[in-house]
């Protein structure tokens, strides 16, 4: 089974377990193992670089793009760690951070937000949580594009974002205020649109295409949780 066909909760469980184990298991061996697993996962078939925010990379295999994103995101942390810590500490912390970064980049590449929302709804979550998550995810790129249009429009009107601190802060106000006010003016319109469609906070919704949640996957998620708890107990006992 490829990673892309796993249930969203299973993907999240794996992405949560790896960083947890990276912190629980003794450094650097534990972190090295979890980092290796997380980096291998980024090559999982089905990973889509677009959803990881990696953009298009002509000539690159999708899995390699996800791996590259994870490595490029983690690389600055290694540099900063070397700047602030000795080599053993750098390796210990760096491996943990790389595990966390690679796991999240991997799950971000494999899991479309809409599929996660469907899984949440199918699992009995109220429409409120699903709406909050889906609305925020869909609004971010739209508002970023609007912010860029405002920047361009204000520049056309002669706004200069250069100069001293006071001038830059005034320019920031001129850029941010129209964006925030336009969003607040839209709140009523959106609320009205939702209410006319029968949206009631807390109500349950019927999922259109609920992801399949096999028994084996549910058992697997519990095993991951038990594994983390066992590792933590072993680590505490071993330390003691």
């Amino acid at each position: 089974m490829t990673g892309g066909r796993l249930h969203p909760f299973t993907l999240l469980a794996i992405a949560g377990t790896l960083p947890a184990l990276a912190w629980i298991l003794p450094a650097p061996a534990g972190g090295a193992v979890t980092t290796a697993v997380a980096l291998v996962l980024t090559l999982t078939p089905g990973a889509s670089p677009g959803l990881a925010g990696t953009g298009s990379s002509p000539g690159w295999r999708p899995g390699l793009v996800v791996l590259r994103t994870a490595v490029l995101t983690a690389a600055p942390f290694w540099l900063f760690l070397l700047l602030l810590h000795d080599v053993p500490s750098t390796i210990a912390i760096g491996l943990r951070l790389t595990t966390m970064i690679a796991s999240v980049v991997w799950v971000g590449a494999l899991l479309p937000p809409g599929r996660l929302v469907e899984a949440m709804v199918a699992a009995g979550w109220g429409v409120t949580a699903a709406y909050l998550f889906a609305a925020a995810l869909s609004a971010v790129p739209l508002l970023k594009a609007r912010a860029q249009r405002i920047v361009d429009a204000q520049r056309c009107r002669g706004l200069s974002p250069r100069g001293g601190l006071g001038r830059r802060l005034r320019a920031l106000r001129a850029l941010a205020l129209p964006l925030v006010l336009s969003v607040l003016h839209e709140v009523d319109e959106r609320a009205l649109a939702l209410e006319t469609r029968g949206f009631v906070p807390g109500a349950r919704r019927t999922p259109l295409a609920p992801p399949r949640d096999a028994t084996a996957e549910r058992v697997g998620r519990w095993l991951l949780l038990v594994g983390c708890a066992a590792a933590l107990a072993w680590r505490l006992a071993w330390r003691g």
Binding site: G53, P76, F77, F80, L81, L83, L84, H85, S89, T90, I93, L97, M100, I101, S103, V104, V105, P113, T128, Y131, L132, F133, A135, A136, L137, A139, V140, L142, L143, K144, R146, A147, Q148, I150, V151, P161, R162, R168, L169, A171, L172, R173, L175, A176, L177, L179, V180, L181, V183, L184, H185, E186, V187, D188, R190, A191, L194, E195, F199, P201
Partner: protein, 189 residues
């Protein structure tokens, strides 16, 4: 919770993330990633603010996984902004900016242990460099980490509070009145 407040939460979270475009344009070392949290709190109270902060961290985590451990800072920011709104501190820049500076100290104190334990004080390049400067000045590791976080948060939160104050005052009174806390936050109710 009304549908209007429910719509406000993702909108405010998206504001926090979209403001990076404006910050990039003016090339200032600011995050403004708590603007939506402060705004939602000032408009609709602590519940909306905390939900906005958690949602901002969750969505930001998909873009940069290092944001999630700092979700507790967003909660602290929402609670502080609620106290500021109750006290009418958004009524002018003269009251909002000092309140924002106070939040900067609190946010730095909250984020320092997270940054130190989880990231070894390397959350961003700027914080890593100011932490290194703190070490060069002879501060102990945790003190240098606080120094780095303080430099990053102090001005950022003051600008955030100033920006939210500007927004609250620029809102038409009829629009502001639709949100339960907006008029009280600016000292008009």
């Amino acid at each position: 919770m009304s549908v209007r407040l429910l719509v406000l939460i993702p909108a405010a979270a998206a504001i926090s993330l979209a403001l990076s475009a404006a910050v990039d344009a003016v090339a200032l070392p600011l995050f403004l990633d708590t603007t939506g949290t402060v705004l939602a709190t000032a408009l609709a109270g602590p519940g909306a603010g905390i939900a906005t902060g958690v949602l901002t961290s969750a969505v930001n985590t998909l873009r940069n996984p290092t944001f999630w451990p700092f979700v507790v800072v967003q909660v602290i920011v929402a609670l502080y902004a609620w106290l500021a709104a109750r006290g009418g501190l958004f009524r002018s820049l003269k009251t909002a900016v000092p309140a924002g500076l106070g939040l900067g100290v609190l946010a730095a104190a909250t984020s320092t242990p997270i940054s130190y334990v989880v990231f070894g004080c390397t959350t961003t390049g700027g914080i890593a460099l100011t932490t290194a400067l703190g070490r060069a000045l002879g501060l102990p590791p945790l003190g240098a980490c606080f120094f780095g976080s303080f430099v990053a948060d102090f001005g950022d939160k003051a600008v955030t509070f100033a920006l939210v104050t500007s927004v609250l005052h620029a809102l038409p009174r009829r629009t502001a009145a639709r949100f339960p806390w907006a008029l009280r936050a600016v000292g008009a109710a």
